[in-house]
């Protein structure tokens, strides 16, 4: 249509040239289509399933975290979310040579605890363990994030660095917790906060899909109607994660309960109990 418009204008040979150029660029930008077989191949070869370092959880989730998926852990304060994150980080860093990127908003990343967990999950003698701990801890990369703009900035940089194929690959990206970044900007009259939240979600999903790593984020619980707890961030975030798991813990015990709220492959409502040591 634009071409036709340009033809009507007599002095617009250059304009027409420009427009065809633009059109060809637009054509080149869209992603190539894939058929189901290619998708299956991609899923089988490029998307691994990462163990979370706890046998019961891995069995429960049919192997653990799926690469390419955005998994969300929700739960009230002190329900074991960070512990699951630290455990998954240690386990993935131990089993693969690639990095684990840990984005922390609550200063709750405890290197001492990581060392302890790595000691627990590796079954070699003392001398070996120290080596393993050093290797594992060197491949866990930590970044403190205190506002949503920094998060977006870090993710853009990550995308840039991964695309330019420099540095090592990432296997797992953890954001603990995403809701404390978003809740200060969400709500009120503006829709800006919601836009930022959605773009962070989309960016996370895109990175996970394109670069074959798993994303694990944590979310809070807030009081909903009649005081019943519900996941924070509301309806528009609800549709973003692929997998949504709810954690709870009885007061004073170290036995946690994990149940599925949403999972593409499994029925929701199933539960498993595990212990935090």
């Amino acid at each position: 249509m634009l071409v036709a418009l340009a033809e009507q204008n007599s002095t617009s040979e250059r304009l027409k040239q420009g427009i065809t150029q633009v059109l060809s660029i637009i054509d080149g930008l869209h992603q190539p289509w894939l058929d189901g077989m290619e998708l299956l191949e991609d899923a089988q070869w490029n998307k691994r399933i990462l163990s979370m370092g706890c046998e019961r959880i891995d069995m429960f989730l049919q192997g653990g975290l799926h690469e390419g998926h955005l998994t969300e852990l929700v739960g009230p304060s002190s329900s074991g979310k960070t512990q699951v994150c630290l455990r998954a980080a240690s386990s993935v860093a131990k089993n693969y040579l690639d990095s684990v990127l840990f984005l922390d908003t609550c200063n709750s990343f405890s290197p001492k605890r990581i060392a302890q967990i790595v000691g627990q999950i590796s079954d070699s003698d003392n001398k070996e363990v120290n080596k393993v701990i050093q290797r594992v801890m060197n491949s866990i990369v930590y970044h403190a994030v205190f506002d949503i703009y920094t998060l977006l900035n870090v993710l853009h940089r990550l995308e840039f660095n991964l695309r330019s194929q420099k540095g090592s690959q990432v296997r797992l990206l953890i954001v603990d917790s995403i809701s404390s970044l978003i809740s200060p900007i969400l709500g009120g009259n503006g829709t800006n906060g919601r836009a930022l939240m959605t773009s962070a979600g989309i960016l996370l999903k895109k990175l996970a899909q394109q670069h074959n790593f798993a994303v694990l984020v944590t979310n809070h619980m807030v009081a909903g109607e009649r005081g019943i707890l519900k996941p924070a961030l509301g309806e528009s975030w609800k549709s973003i994660p692929h997998v949504r798991l709810q954690l709870s813990r009885d007061h004073g015990s170290n036995i946690c309960n994990m149940s599925i709220i949403r999972h593409p492959l499994m029925a929701s409502g199933e539960e498993v109990k595990f212990m935090i040591l």
Binding site: P76, C106, S139, F160, N161, S180
Partner: protein, 346 residues
């Protein structure tokens, strides 16, 4: 390397491309004032763009071994850093035990409990203890005390400081038996001089002070603890819009987290309790609701157990939940007397 792949905002990228800067090499030779003129933006913004561009160019050429994201640290480095960190003692050995040696720097710790349980006492004790010099196992730092309730009693601080000094002298004698003990150079008054006190009368003032803290602390680098007594007070009254309250509180929590991390200091938030109705009965929980409960790194709950004061670790990324008794004495926070078999040390 194209400009369109730079980590810039879409409008900045658009302006760059519009002005003909399509590749990084075209940006490399331009000055910030020229760029500002061509792009019709302020010079600072142009400088910003050039910085991003030069950084990306540098990254493109020489990439470190684990340069996934700049500014990131590996857990291994952090472990060594953490080992060097000192903790702030609470003056009660039992309490320090369950806290893994005291209140941790780089963390935001929330302390909650019923009125009269000793929250403010613990706050004052920490403000004094943070000043214990390094050769006595302390941090030798200074304290910021943000008082919203008006419960900071300066006479009491003097009392606690004097007791703390006496303990330090005892420690000296214990350590250098017979030998002429090196004199403690500090005076109780020095303890008072090293506490920066802010009196807050409304939540707007509280937010303003917390925003100001970053500047204040970068001028006073030896501040090692920030105590807010209490975070709740002004947020419990005259708030119509609860969503606004949640936003303000979570924004404030993030700022405090940032302070704790950036200046490796401990942030102590004192919180009140409230009754909550759930599952058919009333029970006590901390005030400010469920969304606030995520705002701290670790949480200590103070409660009465028959006639004894107890502290319970309710949340911590690295410590097990545990509880221990303590008591509030004329000299400050100390071990509970009923099972005080250990020698009081500091």
């Amino acid at each position: 390397m194209e400009v369109s792949r730079l980590p810039l905002s879409a409008s900045q990228r658009g302006k760059l491309i519009y002005a003909g800067y399509t590749s990084l090499s075209s940006l490399s030779s331009v000055s910030s004032s020229e760029l500002a003129r061509d792009l019709n933006v302020s010079e600072t913004e142009a400088l910003e763009i050039l910085k991003v561009a030069s950084y990306s160019g540098w990254l493109d050429g020489t990439s470190g071994s684990h340069a996934i994201v700049n500014g990131a640290q590996t857990a291994w480095d952090m472990l060594h850093e953490e080992e060097l960190l000192r903790r702030i003692t609470t003056s009660s050995a039992d309490l320090d035990d369950i806290l893994g040696g005291g209140i941790s720097c780089k963390e935001v710790t929330e302390i909650g409990g019923v009125p009269g349980i000793g929250k403010t006492q613990l706050g004052i004790q920490l403000a004094v203890n943070v000043q214990i010099p390094a050769n006595y196992g302390g941090l030798g730092g200074k304290a910021i005390y943000i008082d919203t309730e008006g419960s900071f009693m300066v006479e009491r601080v003097l009392q606690i400081a004097e007791a703390c000094l006496e303990d330090m002298l005892d420690y000296d004698v214990l350590l250098h038996k017979g030998v002429q003990a090196c004199q403690v150079k500090m005076q109780p008054k020095d303890f008072l001089a090293n506490i920066y006190y802010f009196r807050i009368c409304s939540y707007t003032e509280l937010i303003a002070v917390i925003n100001y803290l970053e500047k204040f602390i970068s001028e006073h680098k030896d501040v090692k603890v920030v105590i807010v007594d209490s975070i709740t007070f002004h947020f419990r009254q005259d708030f119509e819009d609860m969503a606004l309250r949640t936003r303000l509180l979570s924004g404030m929590a993030l700022k405090l987290m940032k302070l704790a991390k950036k200046f490796t200091l401990a942030v102590i938030l004192l919180n009140q309790v409230t009754t909550k109705y759930s599952e058919g009965s009333f029970h006590l929980t901390l005030a400010l609701g469920d969304s606030w409960s995520h705002a701290c790194t670790s949480r200590l709950i103070l409660y009465w157990n028959s006639n004894e004061r107890y502290a319970y670790i309710d949340k911590s990324p690295s410590l097990r939940s545990a509880s221990s008794p303590y008591s509030v004495t004329g000299r400050g926070i100390r071990n509970s007397t009923s099972n005080c078999k250990r020698i009081k040390m500091m």
